[in-house]
């Protein structure tokens, strides 16, 4: 780390004018893209070829790529090393990281607070038949994922609970899995606590509440068409052959539906213009009151059972410690012989984002090297001079570029971070406003992350399905891609929007709020 003033100034200054750059590479400006290009190649190999969905594996890939890139640097390697620090300390990364930590805690509280069981109860009460089951599942999965913000979490919860019930009721398994993935796309795209929503807003200098409000006009349009598609396809496609003689079991709990209020607290406050940290903090408090309060009521015998399937926070202290033993009357302290540590919804929710946080820091460092080395400028100049020559073509390039990168890389948030600088710069060169840029970036990131067989969303659903038991059919990931209706429709809505100007807003029409209010 630099310690002298001159070194600090060297860290912070921008690339010079007239083609001069901070770092020179053997192979010219384009060689500055080596770290990011190697990372993309690693990501495709790990997640696409080997089908290993492991974010920490991508962290190692990005670390290796940064080391390899250094060998292509001309002269001193200090500028290259300093640029890594410079990239990591950008506000765009810090803002996303802070929002993720809050969103992670909130999402886990809802997951551990019986939200999905509440939705299961609703589906049971409605007595949904097999042919209609995929359409209803799409709506409920969309609602659930909009609450918890993570499409992977929504896919796991619904594949574990709704998929077997739906199949036993006679729903077509492939269509049902497609409906679950569609619901995950919807929530990943729209939820203010979604990791991709947060990245899309902060990288395009727009506030999260405003971004969420501005994307309803695309999301609802695609969702209405997708819902109609599931209703029609449910009637036309053959039902599950395991349904005969089997009894469907939907074991839900109505109390879980209170978390609709937790969800509306966050969405309402975010859209009303409150800072996202403030909005999610209130959501956490409301969810905690429901979870802990219902557990206390159950303890006192007022209600049959509480919402919590895991404590909000639990210190597992060593039994050998006398001090710990003297405190184990506290509800959040337990003494154990082995396996000491901290656990609970708040702990797991925040720590679940740690690998993605480290990966994000490394990717923005790689992007900074590409900017300081001139590679970013070279690709941008090519795109602006040859491809994105007018505003319609620019937006089409943004849609197709985001979709392509996300179709290749399993973990869609990583792909989104890599493509975000291009969306920002190409959009800014036509004064396309921050909300519109964030919407193009996030919709295509969310949509393409749940369609192809190597996509992270498809893989987590497939893994969950394999653990359901012999009687439940497993959908091959390669069969489901045509049936993720909302994913495809969202992509085509944006392609049509780019070509026709539907929803287009310029910076001069309406400025997005300051990023400080992210």
């Amino acid at each position: 780390m630099a310690t002298e003033d001159s070194d600090v100034a060297d860290e912070l200054h921008e690339p010079g004018e007239g083609g001069g750059h901070d770092i020179e590479f053997y192979g010219g400006r384009i060689a500055s893209a080596i770290p990011l290009a190697l990372f993309v190649a690693w990501a495709i190999f790990q997640s696409g070829v080997l089908q290993v969905s492991d974010t920490t594996g991508l962290v190692i890939g990005m670390l290796a790529a940064l080391v390899v890139g250094m060998f292509f640097t001309k002269g001193s390697w200090a500028s290259y090393a300093n640029t890594i620090f410079e990239g990591m300390t950008q506000r765009v990364a810090a803002t996303a990281i802070v929002a993720w930590l809050w969103a992670g805690m909130f999402a886990q509280l809802l997951q551990d607070g019986g939200f999905v069981q509440g939705l299961v109860w609703a589906a049971d009460v409605a007595s949904v038949s097999g042919p209609l089951f995929p359409a209803v599942t799409f709506l409920l999965a969309a609602l659930f994922t909009t609450g918890i913000g993570t499409g992977y979490g929504g896919t796991i919860a619904f594949t574990g609970l709704f998929y077997p019930a739906g199949v036993l009721l006679g729903a077509n398994p492939v269509l049902l899995f497609g409906a679950i993935l569609s619901g995950a796309v919807f929530g990943d795209n729209l939820a203010p606590v979604s990791d991709t929503t947060i990245v899309s807003a902060v990288t395009q200098n727009a506030d999260i509440g405003g971004v969420v409000a501005s994307r309803f006009k695309y999301a609802i349009l695609a969702a209405v068409l997708a819902f109609a598609g599931y209703v029609v396809a449910g009637q036309v496609m053959p039902g599950s052959d395991v349904a005969a003689g089997a009894t469907a079991s939907l074991d839900g709990q109505p109390l879980g539906l209170v978390h609709v209020l937790s969800m509306l607290t966050v969405i309402g406050l975010a859209v009303a213009g409150r800072h996202i940290i403030e909005a999610i903090s209130w959501g956490i408090i409301v969810a905690l009151v429901f979870n802990v309060g219902s557990t206390l009521l159950a303890t006192w015998g007022v209600i049959e059972s509480g919402l919590q399937t895991a404590p909000a926070l639990l210190f597992r202290a060593p039994a050998s410690s006398g001090l710990a033993q003297s405190l184990d009357w506290l509800p959040f302290v337990v003494t154990v012989e082995e396996g000491t540590g901290v656990a609970g919804s708040l702990y797991g929710g925040a720590s679940g984002f740690f690998p993605l946080i480290v990966l994000t820091l490394l990717i923005v460092a790689g992007a900074r090297i590409m900017i300081q080395g001139g590679g970013f400028e070279a690709i941008q100049a090519f795109l602006l001079n040859r491809v994105a020559t007018n505003v319609r073509r620019a937006e089409t390039t943004m849609v197709l570029g985001t979709a392509t990168v996300n179709a290749m890389i399993t973990i869609n948030t990583a792909a989104e971070i890599a493509i975000a600088p291009y969306i920002a710069r190409i959009g800014e060169r036509f004064n396309i406003n921050g909300y519109r840029r964030a919407n193009i970036l996030d919709a295509n990131t969310s949509a393409l992350g749940y369609i192809f067989p190597w996509a992270g969303g498809v893989l987590v659903g497939y893994e969950t399905m394999r653990g359901l038991g012999e009687n439940i059919p497993v959908v091959n990931p390669i069969d489901v891609w045509p049936f993720v209706f909302h994913g495809w429709l969202l992509f085509f809505v944006f392609l049509a929007a780019a070509v026709t100007g539907y929803g287009l807003e310029y910076v001069s029409d309406r400025e997005s709020e300051e990023v400080s209010r992210a």
Partner: protein, 87 residues
């Protein structure tokens, strides 16, 4: 934030937006043409007579001085710099 936030942008927007003389707008300076800074908004262009030398990719306040509806090109006066590119 009101219902307007949800409905903003609903509809089809032209690729060549128009401006009135006297309008004060915010826009990114998107390039330099023949030595003059330009703010390209969609496929319309505003030439900025007195922009700072390093204004490209900065967000500036402008006052529109004139705009030709046929060529979609106008002139604007630089008022102040209010921000910069996201990256």
């Amino acid at each position: 934030m009101t219902l307007g936030s949800f409905l903003a942008g609903v509809g089809f927007r032209t690729n060549t937006p128009s401006f009135e003389a006297g309008d004060e707008i915010t826009a990114f300076v998107t390039g330099v043409e023949d030595g003059t800074a330009v703010a390209r908004v969609g496929d319309s262009k505003l030439r900025i007579s007195n922009a700072p030398a390093d204004a490209v990719d900065t967000l500036v306040r402008l006052r529109v001085e004139g705009f030709n509806e046929d060529t979609h090109v106008g002139q604007a006066e630089y008022l102040e710099t209010v921000g910069e590119s996201s990256f």
